[in-house]
């Protein structure tokens, strides 16, 4: 291996043919394979942020910000406490109020804070989607592969079932054993039970010699998502997030329909929001929205919901311009008035000091919740609270 070739690889100057030659050479030279991989990882990690010393810089900034915030809080408490009744009227009008207002989400809001609305389940599982699979704590997690346990009258039985994403008509690949990468036959599910399935297999000989069946990637992702929903319904947030991460990783590394991948990203983003991992949630919402743009423009309601949730995250970290753009997109993606989006646009207007628009938007949100068949009493009350606050200090 000449130094010149390695230099050219490091500079990404090789032609594909030269790169193939180098790759082939590395397969007989473990040291070279390691060196090429290390160089590849440097390219992956060499960004403006890492060169600036991102982590340390962020840490120092956060520390400084936390210290400054603590100092401001102490001074505020000291100044406000003895003359609270006199201080409040001074703080109400004009830009002073706008500058100190911070929005909050749902039950975490303190009195006086504008309240945002997002379609995020409560951490105890309330508010999540209904799950029609018993919340049995002993339920096993889904398995990616199983075995043929018996063959009778030309029908094979496998030890995988609906828990593992198998449904009638699912096609599983048959392998000699669990380490084999060469598929030799197929199993088509005809009757599906919770943890077992019966179906046809391609040839008696194959069935006898080849025992392992592997679930199709799309079915595996569906099974993992089903498991996540069960955990959410039980209020097991942390395990739910772990399994959602597995579903996302599988969805990202396999060739499954984009819509399924989008669902996995969105579910993980929900759980990350719930857990307070807002940056990770933002990233996954963004991926979900990008995928919707590419494939599912027809799904107005879901598009609107994902845009609204991402806007809420942006508002919680103070990026109001980005939130405004998303909420505008959310409004145009929805084919009917969306109470959550209207409420959040009202919060945004309030934060920017435009009380008249805020009041109009809160009123529209109230009407949307009153007229909607799926309106939630809780969400309507949130809007009423926002409306009462904005009307109060007039």
């Amino acid at each position: 291996m000449t130094s010149d070739r390695m230099d050219r690889y490091a500079r990404r100057e090789m032609t594909p043919a030269e790169a193939r030659e180098l790759a082939q050479e590395s397969l007989d030279n473990p040291e070279l394979f390691e060196e090429l991989t290390a160089s590849a990882l440097v390219h992956a990690g060499l960004t403006e942020r890492s060169i600036r010393g991102g982590r340390m810089a962020r840490f120092r900034w956060k520390t400084a910000f936390a210290a400054a915030a603590a100092a401001v809080l102490l001074i505020t408490i000291f100044l406000v406490r003895p003359t609270r009744q006199q201080a409040l009227p001074q703080a109400r009008p004009g830009k002073t109020v706008v500058a100190v207002l911070k929005p909050a989400l749902g039950s975490s809001a303190s009195p006086g804070q504008p309240i945002l609305l997002a379609s995020i389940p409560a951490s105890d599982g309330r508010g999540g989607a209904l799950v029609f699979r018993g919340p049995d704590p002993a339920s096993r997690p889904p398995q990616p592969a199983g075995v043929i346990v018996s063959i009778e009258d030309g029908l094979a039985t496998i030890n995988l079932g609906s828990l593992d994403g198998i449904k009638k008509g699912s096609v599983l690949t048959v392998f000699r054993d669990e380490k084999s990468t060469r598929a030799t036959g197929r199993f088509v599910a005809m009757t599906v039970f919770r943890e077992r399935a019966r179906g046809e297999i391609a040839g008696q000989q194959v069935a006898q010699d080849y025992k392992t069946v592997r679930v199709a990637d799309a079915d595996q992702v569906a099974a993992l998502m089903g498991h996540v929903e069960v955990l959410v319904s039980r209020g097991d947030s942390r395990p739910a997030r772990d399994w959602a991460e597995k579903a996302v990783a599988l969805a990202e590394t396999t060739n499954i329909p984009l819509g399924e991948r989008q669902k996995a990203w969105e579910m993980l983003a929900l759980l990350e929001t719930q857990a307070g991992s807002l940056q990770a949630a933002e990233r996954h919402y963004q991926l979900a929205i990008d995928s919707l743009d590419a494939e599912s423009r027809g799904s107005f309601e879901k598009h609107s919901s994902a845009l609204n949730n991402l806007a809420v995250l942006r508002m919680l970290r103070g990026d109001y311009d980005a939130a405004a753009a998303l909420l505008t997109g959310s409004a145009s993606a929805s084919n009917k008035p969306d109470g959550r989006s209207l409420n959040n646009r009202g919060v945004l207007a309030e934060l920017r000091g435009d009380r008249r628009s805020a009041e109009a938007l809160y009123t529209d949100a109230q009407h949307a919740f009153a007229g909607g068949a799926d309106s939630s009493g809780h969400e309507r009350r949130v809007v009423e609270t926002n409306l009462a606050r904005i009307k109060g200090p007039k």
């Binding site: 390695m6 230099d7 690889y9 490091a10 500079r11 090789m14 594909p16 790169a19 180098l22 790759a23 082939q24 590395s26 397969l27 007989d28 473990p30 394979f33 090429l36 991989t37 160089s39 590849a40 990882l41 440097v42 390219h43 992956a44 990690g45 060499l46 960004t47 403006e48 942020r49 890492s50 060169i51 600036r52 010393g53 991102g54 982590r55 096609v171 690949t173 380490k179 084999s180 990468t181 060469r182 598929a183 030799t184 036959g185 197929r186 088509v188 046809e200 040839g203 199709a216 955990l231 395990p239 772990d242 991460e245 597995k246 996302v248 990783a249 990202e252 590394t253 396999t254 990770a280």
Partner: protein, 203 residues
């Protein structure tokens, strides 16, 4: 009866390697197994096979795997979109995920409660390739970068900002060949430091 084998296929045929991946990619599997062992896998060969399977099933990585690593280059196969370094970073990311997944299964089979299964709680989003390759590598590069010589740091910084060799040369008052040399030496020096750092417990 359902017809046999991948050629009989229907829509799932695309998900299966057209040929026997185990023999076509025997040497790649050995290299991946060696890395899997280093990453702490209890079944390095299985992890390597799973990584290869996923890479051949993925529409973006599959052409690059075939082009760079198949035993015999299929005639008229066009060059892939991915450069070699992008593929190697991807393979590393998938392999690392597969090893973590394997550890999760081992923990489950030892009857650890469901809540205990899954990624290391110290790493909040460990299973996404973006996280693996970007955030962790960015962190390691951020730690190693200040140890480089001043000239290397300067040129790599400007390259990361998207500047061309000519612009960098003008700014630094050197010729373009010198800039190119500093870029490659900087990358290779950084790669050596990253390897040492990863060998010291990046798992």
């Amino acid at each position: 009866m359902v017809p046999l084998g991948p050629s009989a296929a229907g829509e799932d045929a695309a998900a299966l390697p057209a040929r026997d991946a185990a023999s076509d990619y025997r040497r790649l599997l050995a290299a991946l197994a060696s890395r899997a062992k280093w990453l702490g896998s209890l079944d390095p060969e299985g992890a390597a096979q799973e990584t290869l399977k996923r890479s051949l099933e993925n529409a973006s990585s599959q052409p690059a795997v075939e082009y760079y690593f198949s035993q015999d280059l299929p005639a008229a196969l066009p060059p892939p979109v991915w450069p070699l370094d992008q593929l190697l970073a991807w393979l590393h990311g998938v392999l690392r995920y597969v090893v973590r997944e394997e550890r999760g299964r081992v923990r489950y089979s030892r009857e650890v409660p469901i809540g205990g299964i899954g990624p290391d709680p110290a790493d909040p989003t460990p299973d996404q390739l973006h996280s693996l390759i970007q955030e962790e590598m960015e962190g390691i590069v951020a730690d190693c970068f200040p140890m480089l010589e001043r000239e290397y740091r300067a040129v790599l910084k400007m390259r990361a900002q998207g500047m061309k060799y000519g612009e960098i040369a003008t700014r630094m008052g050197v010729n373009e060949n010198t800039v190119a040399t500093w870029v490659s030496r900087g990358i290779r020096d950084l790669a050596q430091r990253v390897r040492k750092r990863m060998g010291g417990g990046w798992r």
